[in-house]
Symmetry: D2
C-alpha cells in the first residue's frame, strides 16, 4: 500500500476535501496524515474542516496536523490593497479575504455538520512530515495541495528528508497559461511564492505538477453531480447533495473546476495521463506584477536536459501534467466519491 | 489615403519587410517613412536592408530613417550570459547574437541584392515621427513592428504628439501564452522592456496589439509559397523565390510565422479580425525571470473598465488581437505580395 | 571661456538658481543655455522661475529651454501612496506634491517678481543639448542639477554626442550615506531612477558627482546670509534679503543645504576640492525600497580599476566629491553672489 | 541569572567565539545552548569549532546544536559569479568561498586544537530554540550573531514563541553606512536576506541591532591584544596568543573589527551604550544590487512612531546601536577574556 501525506488548505467539500476523499475511498493508500496549511482557508479553518469531514465519513483514524499559519514572508493581507494598486486586483484572495480566527473552534460561522469533536494531532505539520518521511524512507508521496509553506519549512529545516521522499505531487502553477488570482499567478503559488520556489528547487527524486493548464480544462457540471447523487446515499454523497444540490438547482449550467482532485486521480490511476512534459519549473519571487508566476523551462536548441546548468540557477526537473483522459477521470471520480 | 509610419527592425524579406511590402503594394496607404530600430537587426543592418529592398521594388521615394541604436536601458549584450545563468537561456537573441556593425555600408556580409545605392534620410527617427505626427494631426498610424525604443523616446521627449497620433499598431507581447525568447517574454518587448512599457502606458487614442497569441497560430507553409511563386515574377516574387525557395526545397514541410505581416493585414482589411479583446496591457520591467513579459489585465468581478483605477498603476486600454480569418488573411497576403 | 549648459529643476532662489547665478556672476563661463527638467518643480514652474530670475538680473541673453515634463518611466504621482505604503513615506516630493500646471504662465501662484516677460526658447531641451554639444565638440560641460531625464533622452536618442561632451557634473546620489527622500534615495535620482542610471552608465569622458555625502555637510547659516546682505544691494542680494531675510528673522539658528551650488564652486575653483574618489556609480532601478538608491563601487581586493569587467554590468567610472574646503567655498559663494 | 541562546556562524576565535566567551566568562548568564547557522562557516565547520573551543575552555556542559545548513532561499554559491557580474563583486564570501564539508569531522583542515571529542546536541537548532523559549517564557534572550536562518525558521514554524522571547540582539545590517560584503549589504543579512527580513519583521517584544554603523568604528589593535596576553595564561588567553600573536608579530599596526563581541558587551553592561536610536528596520529582498541591504526608517515629518502604518508594510520597531563608550567596552572585553 502506498503511503501518502496530504498537505492541504482544506475547505468544506472543496477540491482538497475531494482529493482526500478519493484517496481514502480508494482503499489503496495509507493516508499517514492530513497536514494543514494556510491558503484557501486559515489553518484554524482548514483544521476544523478536515477534522469534521473525517468525522462525517468515519475516518477519525487519520490525523489532522496543523501547520504554518502564514506564508513564509508573512501575511500580506494588511497591505494587499497597495499591491493591487500597483500590480492589479486579484480575482480571489482565499484566507486573505477575511480575518484570521483565534482558534479552530471559534470560526466565523459553524462548519457544515458542526464543529469537530475530535482534536488536531499534537505535533506540528512540519515535524510530522519530517518524522513520517524518516520512518518510511523512500515510500512517502507528499500531496502539496495548497501553498507550499509546510513543505518549504520541512526541506529547509530538515534537508536530510529530501532523498527519502518518494515524490511530491503539486497542484499549483500556471505554466503556459495565465494565472487565476492575478493575471500572472495561480493561487497556491501566489499565496506563498517563496515557499513554492523553495519546494520546486528542491532535488526531490520526483516532482509531478498539476497546473491550471490542465485544471482549467476539466469541468465539473451537473452531469457529474447527477451521476453521484443518483447513487446510494453515503455520508459523502449526502455532502454533495447538501452542498452542491442547491447550486445546481439555482443554475443547472454552472460549471466549476476540481483542481486538487486531479492529483489523486493521476496518482491512483496513472494510466489516465494523456500528456506529461518534463520541465524545469520555477516561481518568480520578484515583488512585482509577476510575483508568484510560474515559469516552465523546456528543452530546446539552447537548453538541453543533458546539461542542467543550461536551466536557470537552482531549478529542478519536474513532470508537468498537460492532458488527461477526461472520461476515465470522471468515471474514477464518481466511482470513488460514491463508493460505499 | 491613410498615412502611416512603419517603425521596424528590418531584415531581409523578414516579417517586417513583408509587412512593409503589403502596405506599399496595397496602393491604399501613404507610407510617410520607414523608421529603423534595433531588434532583429542592428540599426545599421536594418537601414541597409530597408534601403536596398525599397530600391529593388522601385520605391526609393519612401524615406528610410535610422533611429535609436540601442535599447533604452542600454545594450545588455555584454552581460547576457549572466542573465541567462540566472533566468534561463533565450531562444533567439536578434541583434544581440552578433557585434554591432560600424556603418550601414560595412555589414558582416553583403545584403541580398548588394549594398544600397540610396541614402538614409538625414533626420533622426524620433524627430521624424514627431514632425510627421504634428504635420498630420490625427491622421498618422504608427506601426510598431520592432522594440518600442523610437516610440518611447518620441512620446517622452515630445508628449504633445500623443493626442495627435491616430493609433499605434504593435506587433509584440505574449498576452495569454508563453514567450518566444525567454519562456516569459516575446522578442520585441524583451529586447527593450522599458520602452514597451512606456509606449503601452501612453494614453494614445487607440492601441492595437498583435501578440504571439495569434501570431503563433498562423503558419506560412509551402502551400502559400507556391501560390506566390506561381504568379508573374515581380521583384518581390523573385525575392520569395530566391530566399524561400531553397528552404522549401530542402524541407517541404517547413512552417514559419509571419508576425508583423498580420498588422498590415488587419489595418488594410479590418474585416478579417475574428476576435479582438480589450485589455489593459503592461510589460514587466522587474529585472528577473519575467523581464519583458506582457500582462493583459481584463475586466472581471474585481476589475471594471468603468473604473480605470482598478487597473494597475499607469496602464492603458488596448485592443488585443486574438483571432483572424486565416483564409482571408492568406488570400490578402498572396494578392498583395504578388501584385504587379 | 568654458562653455556650459545648466540642466536644472529650477526654483525661486533655490540651489539651482544659486548655482546658475554663481556661474553667470563669475564672468568666466559662457552659459549656452538653461535647460529645464521636472524635479523640485514641474517644467512649467521651472521655466517661469528661470526666465524671471534671469530678467531680474539682466541676463535675458541666456536661453531658457524647457525639456521633458515627466520622468522617463512616467509620472508616479497618482500611485505614490501605494509605493509609500510598501516602502516607506518620502520626506520630500518635489513637483509630485502638487498638480502640474497647464502652462508656465498659469502657475499656482505668481512667481517672485511676477510672471516673466521673456519667452522660453523654442527648441526642446534635448535637441538644444544635442545641437550645442555638436557645435562645440569637446568643449561643453553639462551641469545635471536635477533629475537626469533630459540628459538620458539626449544620449539615448543621439549617442553620437557622448564622446563630444567635455564632462558632466551631477548633483545627485547618496553614495555612502542614507537618502534624503526615501531613507535609501537622494531626491534627483529618486525622481527619475532610470534616467540617472542611463546617464551614469554612459561612457562620457568625465563624470563628476556631488552627492549628499558632501552636500549634507555644508551648512548655509545666518552667518553666510549676513555676509551677503551686508554687501551693496544688487538684484541678487535683494532676492536674498527678500526671500531669506524673513526666515532668518523668524529663526536665526536655521540652517539649510546648498546642494547644486557646490557644483558651480568646484567647477570654477577646482582647488577647493579636498577629497574626490573614483567610483563606479550606479542607481538601483528595482522597483522596491531601494528604488533610486545610488551604489558607489570602489577598487578593492576583488574589484580592480584595471579590469572594468570587475565592476557591475554597464557601470562607468566617476569622480565623486567627498570633501571640500568649506571656508574657501563660502568665500567664493559670497563673492560671486554679491558681485556687482 | 539571564538565560541566553547564542545563534552563531562560529569560527575559530572569531567574533562569534569571543562573544560567546564573554558571556560564559561573565559568570552572570546561563547559556542554554549555542545554535549553529551557516554564514562565515558551514554548519559542519561551525559545529566543530564551537564544540572544540568549549572543550578547550572546559565548558562542555553547553550544548552545541546544529541548525539550518543553507540560507532560506537556497545556496547561491553555484551562480554567485552571475550575481557578481550584474551587481558587483562581493568583498567576502564566508562559507560560499569553499565547498560544504560532508560532516563536522571531515573539514578541509583540522581545527585549532584538533577535532572535538564531544558531540553535537541531537536536536535541531530550530526545535531547540522553540523548546527553550517555551520552557522559559519571557526569559530568553536570543543572540543572532550570524544569518537569521534558524531564527526565521523558528518564528515561521512556531510563531507561538514570538511573545515568549524576551528579546533578540542581532549583529547585522548597515543602517546608515555602506555594506561590507557588497557595497550595499552587510555580510550576515546578505547571506540570507529573506531570513533577516522575516526575523526583523517579527513583532518581538524587543529587538536590538548592532550594525556596521558602530561595529566598523571599534578597532581591535595590538594594544588590546597586549593587554590580554599580559595576563595569566588561561586557555582563552593561550588561544589569543597562538592565533593573534603571529598576526601582530607580522604587522603590529594591524586592526580589525570585533562585531559580535559588541552584542555581549551591551547585554552585560548596558551602561556602555552611548547612543541607541529607534528605527523600523527592514532588509531589501529584491534580487538586485541592493539584495540584503538594510533600511532604517526613522520618525520624521511624514513618519511618526505614533502611527506604525506610516512605516513600510510589515516592518517593526528596533533599537539600533550607534555609539558606545569604547574605553569601557575594551576594559570589559579584556576583563572577561582574561578572567581566570
Ligand atoms: Ca488546495
Ligand atoms: Ca519586427
Ligand atoms: Ca536641482
Ligand atoms: Ca557572526
Amino acid at each position: 500500500r502506498e503511503k501518502v501525506i496530504v498537505d492541504a488548505d482544506m475547505g468544506i467539500l472543496n477540491d482538497d476535501a475531494v482529493a482526500l476523499f478519493m484517496l481514502l475511498q480508494s482503499g489503496e493508500v495509507d493516508v499517514l496524515g492530513v497536514t494543514i496549511v494556510a491558503g484557501n482557508t486559515w489553518v484554524e479553518e482548514g483544521t476544523a474542516y478536515a477534522l469534521r469531514q473525517l468525522e462525517l465519513i468515519g475516518r477519525t483514524d487519520v490525523p489532522v496536523v496543523p501547520g504554518a499559519p502564514e506564508p513564509l514572508m508573512g501575511n500580506r493581507q494588511p497591505w494587499l490593497s497597495a499591491e493591487e494598486r500597483l500590480w492589479g486586483n486579484s480575482e480571489y484572495l482565499g484566507a486573505f479575504s477575511r480575518p484570521r480566527p483565534r482558534s479552530y473552534l471559534e470560526l466565523d460561522g459553524e462548519p457544515y455538520g458542526g464543529y469537530p469533536q475530535t482534536k488536531p494531532f499534537s505535533e506540528h505539520a512540519v515535524d510530522f512530515i519530517v518524522r513520517m518521511v524518516k520512518a518510511n524512507p523512500g515510500q512517502v508521496t507528499i500531496f502539496a495541495l495548497g501553498p507550499a509553506t509546510n513543505l518549504a519549512l520541512a526541506v529547509r529545516k530538515n534537508p536530510e528528508i529530501v532523498p527519502l521522499v518518494k515524490q511530491v505531487i503539486y497542484m499549483g502553477g500556471a505554466i503556459d497559461v495565465p494565472g487565476n488570482t492575478t493575471v500572472a499567478a495561480e493561487f497556491n503559488w501566489w499565496f506563498d511564492p517563496e515557499a513554492a520556489q523553495i519546494a520546486l528547487r528542491t532535488p526531490f527524486r520526483k516532482q509531478i505538477i498539476v497546473p491550471l493548464d490542465i485544471a482549467e480544462r476539466v469541468f465539473y457540471t451537473k452531469s457529474e453531480f447527477d451521476r453521484i447523487v443518483s447513487r446510494a446515499e453515503t455520508p459523502i454523497v449526502k455532502m454533495f447533495k447538501d452542498l452542491h444540490g442547491p447550486r445546481f438547482a439555482q443554475d443547472p449550467d454552472r460549471t466549476s473546476f476540481v483542481w486538487d482532485a486531479l492529483t489523486s486521480a493521476i496518482f491512483l490511476r496513472p494510466e489516465i495521463v494523456v500528456r506529461m512534459e518534463e520541465r524545469f519549473v520555477d516561481v518568480d519571487t520578484s515583488y512585482g506584477p509577476n510575483y508568484g508566476r510560474s515559469l516552465g523551462y523546456y528543452e530546446s536548441r539552447r537548453r538541453s536536459f543533458g546539461a542542467p546548468e543550461n536551466f536557470p540557477a537552482g531549478t529542478q526537473k519536474a513532470n508537468v501534467l498537460f492532458d488527461i483522459d477526461r472520461q476515465a477521470f470522471w468515471d474514477l471520480y464518481v466511482e470513488l466519491i460514491a463508493k460505499r
